[in-house]
C-alpha cells in the first residue's frame, strides 16, 4: 500500500510514530500558532544551546498539535529538520522543505506545512524577544502576519487555551 487515504507512506509514518511530541519544561522559546480556517493548533517548544563554534543552535525541540494527519506529520517533520540546526539555519526551513521531507502533501493540506514553519519561526522569535536579541526583519514581518491570525484562533479556543496556560505556569 503506497497511500493511506490521501496521504503518502511517509506522511503516515510520521503520523503513526511522531517524533519529539509532548510538552517541554522551561523552554527557551514557544511558538503557538493556529489556522483560523480549519482550526488546527500547533505549539512548538525549543531549547537553545551552543555548538562547538559558539553559534546558537536548537538543542532540543518538542511539539503539541491538535489537528489532522497532515498537521501532526508536518509538526513531527519540522522538529526533525530543526533539531541541531543553528537558529539562522532553522529560520530558513520553509514549507517546501517540509513537503519534500514528507514525499508530498495533498494540495488542500499544504496550509499545514505553512503552519508548522510558522510555529518554528514563532518559537525562535519568542526566544529572541525573551533574550533581548535583535530580531531579523523577515522574522518580524512573519510574526506580524501570524499574530493577526492568532487572534482569531485564540478567540475560537479561548477556554481550552486558558486552562493550558494555567498548567504551563505550574
Amino acid at each position: 500500500m503506497n497511500r493511506v487515504g490521501i496521504y503518502t507512506k511517509k506522511v503516515i509514518k510520521y503520523f503513526k510514530k511522531p517524533h519529539n511530541y509532548g510538552r517541554m519544561k522551561n523552554p527557551d522559546g514557544i511558538g503557538k500558532v493556529g489556522n483560523p480556517v480549519c482550526g488546527d493548533v500547533m505549539w512548538l517548544y525549543i531549547k537553545v544551546g551552543k555548538d562547538k563554534k559558539g553559534r546558537e543552535i536548537i538543542k532540543d525541540i518538542k511539539f503539541e498539535t491538535f489537528g489532522c494527519v497532515a498537521a501532526i506529520a508536518t509538526s513531527s517533520v519540522i522538529t526533525d529538520l530543526a533539531k541541531g540546526k543553528t537558529l539562522e539555519g532553522a529560520m530558513r526551513i520553509d514549507r517546501e522543505d517540509i513537503v519534500k521531507s514528507l514525499g508530498g502533501l495533498p494540495p488542500i493540506k499544504i496550509h499545514c506545512s505553512v503552519l508548522a514553519a510558522g510555529a518554528l519561526s514563532e518559537a525562535i522569535y519568542d526566544y529572541l524577544i525573551k533574550s533581548k536579541k535583535k530580531i531579523p526583519q523577515k522574522l518580524e514581518e512573519l510574526h506580524q502576519r501570524i499574530d493577526k491570525e492568532k487572534k482569531i484562533i485564540n478567540e475560537k479556543y479561548k477556554e481550552w487555551i486558558k486552562i493550558e496556560e494555567k498548567m504551563h505556569k505550574k
Partner: protein, 396 residues
C-alpha cells in the same frame, strides 16, 4: 510484513456493499436481457417488463402506486428534480415562490435551494434543536401564502436523527403545501408509508440499502405537476429522459424486496449493536460525547465527538487498523469547514473538529463492535498525548 488486516466496514451511511442476492438478480440484465426499454422488439419489451416489475416492488416498500415512482440515477438527481421540478412547475402555473427546508439537509438539497434562491425563489431554512429535531411548530409558522414546498430530511445522514415526518406531513397537507422528504438514509431501514405520513414527494437511493450505485427514485404523488430537468426521449413518462439503467433498477428492486422482508428483525439486531457501541464508547473514553438523540435515531447510526482531538486523525488511525469510519471535521472537508449539520445542532468548531461517525449494516457483527471498542480508546488516548489541550485530568 504485518499480518493481513481483517477489514471492518463501519461506514454504511456512505455506501453499502451490494447484497450477493441483488448481484445475482442483476446479472442477466448485463449480457442477455440487455434491451433498451424504448425498443419495440422482444429485447426491448423484456427490459421494459423488468423495469415495470421493479417499479412495483419499489413502490410497494413505501405504500405508493407504481406510477408514482420515477427512476433516476442518484439521490442527488432525485432531490434536484424534487426541488427544482416543483419550483419551476409552480412558477409556470403562476404560483408562489417560497420554499422551506431544514438547516440539516444533505448538500444536494442545500445547494439546490441556493440555486433556486439565485433564480428568485425565497428559501427559509429552519433551525434544529441540540438533537437535530425540527420543531413542527416552526414549520407551521414558516408556511406563508406563497409557500409551495417544504422539504425535510427524514433521517440525518450524519447524526441519524429521525424527524417527526408524520406530524410535519400533516401540517403541510392541512395548509395545501407540498411536502418532500429526503429518505435516503431511512428507506429500507425503518417503515415508511407515504399515505400515512402525508408525504407528497420522497427521494431514495439504491446504494445505501445494498443495491448497486446508479439507481435511485423519486416518489411523486399522483396528480402533482413537476417540470423535468432532463429533456430528451421521454422516458419515465417524460419526467426523466435518459436510457433506462435496467440492470441497476432490477438490483434496486431486489434490494427493496429483501429490506422489506428483513427490516424488522435487522432493525432490532442493529439497534442492539448500536446501543452497545454507544454505551461502550461513552463509558470507555473520557470526555466523549454522543451527537444526536440517544434513541430517536436510525438503528445503524452512531456519531460522537472527542474533546481535544481531531476527526481525520481518528479516521486514519482506525483505517490503519482496518476499520472504516468517517468524520465531520473541517480537516476532512474540501471546503475546510466543519459539517453544517454538527454546527446546526450547536456544536462549536472545536467540538465538530473531533467528530466521528460509525454506521453499521447488514454484515456488522458483535465481534466487530467489540474490536472497535478495544482499539478506539487507545487511539484517542494517543492523539490526546500529542494534543496541546489535555489538562483536563479525567482522561490521563
Amino acid at each position: 510484513m504485518p499480518r493481513k488486516l481483517k477489514k471492518i466496514y463501519l461506514d454504511y451511511a456512505a455506501t453499502t456493499p451490494v447484497d450477493p442476492r441483488v448481484a445475482r438478480a442483476m446479472l442477466p440484465y448485463f449480457t442477455k436481457k440487455f434491451g433498451n426499454t424504448m425498443s419495440l422488439h422482444s429485447f426491448g419489451q423484456e427490459a421494459k417488463q423488468a423495469l415495470e416489475e421493479s417499479r412495483e416492488v419499489v413502490a410497494n416498500l413505501i405504500g405508493a402506486k407504481p406510477n408514482e415512482i420515477i427512476f433516476t440515477s442518484s439521490a442527488t438527481e432525485s432531490n434536484n428534480l424534487a426541488l427544482k421540478g416543483i419550483a419551476l412547475a409552480r412558477r409556470s402555473l403562476g404560483g408562489g415562490g417560497h420554499i422551506i427546508i431544514s438547516s440539516i439537509e444533505h448538500p444536494c438539497i442545500m445547494e439546490s435551494a441556493k440555486w433556486l434562491e439565485k433564480q428568485g425563489f425565497r428559501i427559509t431554512r429552519l433551525p434544529v434543536d441540540k438533537y437535530g429535531f425540527i420543531n413542527p411548530d416552526d414549520v407551521k409558522k414558516a408556511i406563508k401564502k406563497e409557500t409551495i414546498l417544504v422539504s425535510v430530511i427524514h433521517a440525518s445522514n450524519e447524526i441519524g436523527t429521525v424527524q417527526s415526518i408524520e406530524e410535519i406531513g400533516k401540517i403541510c397537507s392541512k395548509r395545501g403545501v407540498y411536502f418532500h422528504t429526503d429518505a435516503v438514509q431511512s428507506f429500507g431501514k425503518i417503515p415508511i408509508d407515504v399515505n400515512k405520513m402525508n408525504i407528497d414527494l420522497l427521494s431514495a437511493s439504491s446504494h445505501k440499502m445494498y443495491g448497486p450505485k446508479g439507481a435511485a427514485c423519486l416518489f411523486i404523488r399522483e396528480g402533482i405537476k413537476i417540470e423535468p430537468i432532463l429533456h430528451g426521449g421521454g422516458q419515465e413518462v417524460g419526467l426523466r429522459s435518459s436510457t433506462v439503467n435496467v440492470s441497476a433498477i432490477v438490483g434496486f428492486a431486489k434490494a427493496c424486496e429483501i429490506s422489506k422482508k428483513e427490516m424488522k428483525k435487522e432493525g432490532e439486531r442493529l439497534t442492539k449493536l448500536r446501543d452497545k457501541l454507544i454505551k461502550g464508547v461513552l463509558k470507555k473514553i473520557p470526555n466523549s460525547y454522543l451527537n444526536g438523540h440517544p434513541q430517536k435515531r436510525l438503528p445503524n447510526n452512531t456519531n460522537f465527538w472527542f474533546k481535544f482531538v481531531e476527526g481525520e486523525s481518528i479516521v486514519i488511525q482506525l483505517d490503519l487498523l482496518g476499520i472504516a469510519a468517517s468524520t465531520g471535521s473541517a480537516c476532512s472537508s474540501v471546503k475546510l469547514e466543519p459539517s453544517h449539520i454538527l454546527m446546526a445542532i450547536g456544536l462549536k468548531h472545536e467540538q465538530a473538529h473531533g467528530s466521528l461517525r460509525l454506521t453499521l449494516g447488514r454484515w456488522t457483527t458483535e465481534k466487530e463492535i467489540d474490536y472497535l471498542l478495544r482499539v478506539l480508546p487507545g487511539i484517542i488516548k494517543n492523539l490526546r498525548k500529542i494534543s496541546p489541550f489535555k489538562s483536563n485530568k479525567k482522561h490521563e
